[in-house]
């Protein structure tokens, strides 16, 4: 399958991040088209395109927009979730760095569609460069009359606020993001009410991922048929895949949904040193891992689900056979323990406990009994925590155990660093050797 650069098409143009650069490639054409049509028509177009959320859950975008009650007399808000913090995910930040106007244009069109006059872009606090790029793009768009009162003479008003988070993973959870945006501690809210009914400041709110919104101008500009020629019936369109790990050319590869990992690996220059793929994760640490057997499964929402995992953020992490799965899982759980917000018991206490046990395994002090205990603990979190963070934390271990039980058995007596020389897995191992 060939790559289909759309959002990434002109990334080698160093001026793309400017208004002129973006416009030189047809930017803001879609906005003019959208503003001339009807908000409902825009929603219908996005619905017809079948675009699904690129943040991880894959919820149909047009459907989400249509949940916003109309003529309810309340202000509506669009909130862009740019808190990209999933381990292994690095796609929204590059999009904001290289092509921020695609996001801004998408925000304006989406706000028009859902009848919001105020939009917020909530960006992870640790990426000031991306924040500056987006803030600059918003300033330029405002100066050009693309944001503000009566945009392009349409009578539509919009203000965009670029908000910097403070670096909490939980704030990528949409309701925690809303609390954070309102100035509270970032902790998930009880649902219902759902954000579409009572979100930001208790008003109807749509929350979309950066990549989802960046798709909108292209769909409006080039049409549903063009969009649907890529991907599958249930996963139409293309995806910004960010491949990382033990590959020769880690990076961003925009390709139709349905491309296989094997193809992506080829684009990424194959495995480093020709070492075999041991395990890989299609979209961040929160989705169950797969192995070399699964390299030919199409990367779609439905095929990944059938394989027992999820497409997630569509940012594959590839690990070769130098890596201890015990160690990898331990690092992920340390991450979830550190990022657990503390609100609910299973996630707060479960991640604390599991991490402690895994660290014992890492040092060769695990036990067979604890192999089972860890499974129980994950079952005691999955589906019982307040939000998806807990579910995510309960994901790595069961999948790792399914494919690599022998490594956990070995870790009951031998430290993993003795079984797997950590230096061999370093990406900078060759440099270190020199």
């Amino acid at each position: 399958m060939t790559l289909t650069p759309v959002i990434t098409e002109h990334w080698n143009d160093p001026t793309l991040y400017t208004l002129d650069g973006y416009r030189s490639h047809g930017g803001y054409r879609a906005l003019a088209t959208a503003l001339k049509s009807d908000p409902d028509a825009v929603i219908a177009t996005v619905k017809d395109s079948g675009l699904r959320g690129r943040g991880g859950a894959g919820f149909p975008t047009g459907l989400k927009w249509s949940f916003v009650p109309q003529n309810d007399g309340k202000p509506h808000y669009l909130v862009v979730n740019a808190d990209e913090s999933e381990p292994g995910a690095c796609k929204d930040i590059p999009i904001m760095m290289a092509n921020p106007h695609a996001l801004v244009e998408g925000v304006i069109i989406t706000s028009f569609a859902i009848r919001a006059n105020h939009a917020f872009i909530y960006i992870r606090g640790e990426v000031p460069n991306a924040i500056r790029k987006v803030a600059f793009a918003v300033e330029q768009a405002r100066a050009a009359g693309l944001i503000g009162k009566n945009i392009l003479g349409s009578g539509f008003d919009l203000e965009i606020v670029v908000h910097s988070g403070a670096g909490a993973y939980i704030c990528g959870e949409e309701t925690a993001l809303l609390d954070s945006l309102e100035g509270y501690r970032g902790q998930p809210r009880l649902k219902p009410p759902f954000p579409a009914v009572a979100g930001l400041y208790a008003s109807p709110t749509v929350i979309n991922n950066v990549e989802t919104i960046a798709n909108i101008p292209y769909i409006i500009d080039r049409g549903v048929d063009w969009f649907r020629q890529f991907g599958t019936e249930k996963s139409p369109g293309f995806k910004v895949f960010a491949v990382s790990g033990h590959v020769n050319r880690p990076g961003i590869y925009e390709a139709p949904l349905g491309i296989t990992m094997r193809e992506l690996l080829e684009y990424a220059g194959g495995m480093r040193g020709g070492v075999d793929v041991k395990f890989w994760l299609p979209g961040g640490s929160s989705v169950p891992m797969l192995t070399a057997e699964h390299l030919d499964i199409p990367m779609t929402y439905e095929d990944m689900a059938a394989a027992g995992t999820m497409l997630g953020t569509g940012t594959p992490m590839v690990f070769d056979s130098t890596v201890s799965v015990v160690k990898a899982v331990t690092r992920w759980l340390e991450f979830y323990k550190h990022e657990s917000c503390g609100k609910c018991t299973p996630c707060r206490e479960g991640t604390y406990w599991i991490t402690g046990v895994l660290e014992k395994f890492e040092h060769g002090h695990g036990s067979q009994e604890e192999v089972e205990t860890l499974t129980h603990l994950c079952n005691q979190i999955a589906g019982r925590s307040f939000c998806a963070l807990g579910d995510a934390a309960a994901t790595p271990y069961p999948a790792a155990l399914k494919y690599f039980r022998d490594e956990f058995d070995a870790a009951t007596h031998t430290p993993v660093d003795e079984t797997f020389d950590p230096r061999a897995s370093y990406v900078f191992a060759e440099a270190a050797a020199r």
Binding site: L190, K337, H338, E339, K343, T345, R384
Partner: protein, 793 residues
Amino acid sequence: MTITNEPGAQVAVPTDLVNVTIDGVEMQVPKGTLVIRAAELIGIEIPRFCDHPLLDPVAACRACLIEVDGMPKPQPACAQMVAEGMNVHTQHSSQVAAEAQAGVMEFLLVNHPLDCPVCDKGGECPLQNQAMSVGRPETRFTEEKRTFPKPINVSAQILLDRERCVSCARCTRFAEQIAGDPMIELLERGAQQQVGTADDEPFDSYFSGNTIQICPVGALTSADYRFRSRPFDLVSVPTTCEHCASGCSLRTDYRRGVVTRRLAWDDPEVNEEWNCDKGRFAFRYQSHGRINAPLVRENGELRVASWPEALATAAGIFEAARGNAGVLVGGRSTVEDAYAYSVMARAVLATDDIDFRVRAMSDEEAGFLAAVVAGSPVTTTYGSLENAPLVLLVDIEPEDESPIVFLRLRKAARGGTRVVTVASHLTTGSEKMNAELVACAPGDEVRALTELSADIRTALAVPGAVIMVGERAAAVPGAFTAVADLAKSTGAALVWVPRRAGERSALDAGALAGLLPGGRPLTDATAREEVARIWGISADRLPQPGRSGRALLENAARGDYAALLIGGVEVDDLRDADLLRAALESETSVVAISTHHNEVTAAADVVFPSGVVTEKSGTFLDWEGRPRPFGQVFHEALTTSDAGVISAIAEVMDATVEGSVTGIRGQIGALGPWRGARTTRTAVAAQPAAAGVRLATWRQLLDLGLMQSDEPHLAATARPTVARMSAATAAANGITEIATLTGPAGAISLPVEITEMVPDVVWVPMNSEGSRIYRDLGLGFGDVVQISAGGRP
């Protein structure tokens, strides 16, 4: 736990019922009911920690997970509402639910210390209990527990052992939702999540003690009770709070004859499950500085006497004073004690010179109380406040003066009730009730009420609207008249909210000149007949209307009474303290019945010890007029009630005054409510406001009140003593940081807090450290005060 309903109110039959099945039991419950509440109705107890029926659901602890048909994941029963046809499986019928609950229980204990043997909560701990019922017998957790340095003070009174906390957020939600004092909040995240305060901003809420009680573990303790006893060593008695007229139901716990703690008890109609910190923590006065035996004066000195001697001496004094005695009851007596004073005055001492008011008072007020309040049935209740479209507050600051009224008004305001306060400024308490201000300098109430906006007037005419007037109105001529006129013209309900617990009790017991028990006019022939029959005397032996208020005190000050019978009266609590002092110094014989030594007992000829609330049973009437009966905590007490003392004196005088609680309740019951004509109030005109800066003042909840003595931790949570005035008033008087207030009795200097308020008014607390207005200034509410810059606080 509380199920809120109002028996007094019309019971609405729910029409919006849904069918739901829980563990195979089919039932109908109102739409919107939470599954956990529905399950309780059929006796199924689902484990819970964060759930509390009076707090908004948060679904954080996950202890209550249940299975619902058609839902892929277990759901929290505390947040899941029932829906038509819903089929719920709790731990009793679902393996998934049982395992989910057990899993959460196991997780909760991961970081919880195993210090139950030294934890105050051990023995009454929801975590301990549920660990016993659904926990594992042995732990699988062998890693290191998270620890914190123990404990931290979130306030001078409240201590927090963070490692015990299970992050249920009941305390923080209480502070935010119920008290409106979000001074504690969850900080940090993950297992490090902890309750904390902002730097240098302690949890000085008037209601902070409730968080200890609703904490499902031993994370919150009070400095006073911590490590003092184990729950299973305590004996618990249901009681009523004696501190104010809110009428809280309490539980008093004691061990070996000493009260160790008090808890708010569940009374959905009154205090729900809350009380204030004064009611919870202030009880050491009960055992300190008490009068233990009768005293008689001999050669100018008081000495301990036997009961027979003291009774004979008092009887001798009263024999000589028949027809010329005065009786001061005090504002803290029970209905039964006040009734005994009332009978003693009329039937034995043949006098109607009797009053219970030990504060600012007026004849206008006495007339108002007799005509509008005394003996009136319970019609306006806490529930009425909650359902009122509008509540108008006149000369009352509920957060300080009737804290449970405040909590209910805040709840009402959150539910849409409009609260309007006629006051000099919007206090933090007013803000928490989302109150609107009708700005009014002290003394200008009459004008403010006559000039109320049409909008408020219209709202007052909506059925259910309530006017609440505080006792401070007695200091303002015409205020009670104006309030009563406003209620009459708009149709709004009118309630009088006194501060002390015994005021309404004394009023209804007839301890006010001109009034017989139940609001019966002394001048009414039928009333006299009814009362005389019960008292076993002939009606013509009842006296003619006598003196109350200032007239009584003036008569006493002149030494014109042969004898005075004085109950629990603190001289400095009187606006006219000098009059009583003069009486005490006069030749008049004084018989005092008191729990504690004070200025009155020091000057008395005979002193009888009286029991505090733990040593007797009785009844307080709260502001609603609702009887709040309480039982005796210490049956082996050496004291008796005031009624017991009075009855014994009367017996020596060959007269009969019923002294037992049951006997008095029987007499009051036999009298029944008064159905005849009430006295009519006389309209009093407003007086023109005096020129100058006027004093606004009231007693703060936590202050120098004698019943709060010996409570250092509680006192440390009191609000700082400041003088409040507007920026313009401060500027006009050249005041920046410190102001000096001067009155006839002296001067006080206080730090100034510039407050948005009416001009030419200065507010100071009435009885706080450095600001005892009657004593230090000789001034009261509404009086003109001299203010100047500077001074040393």
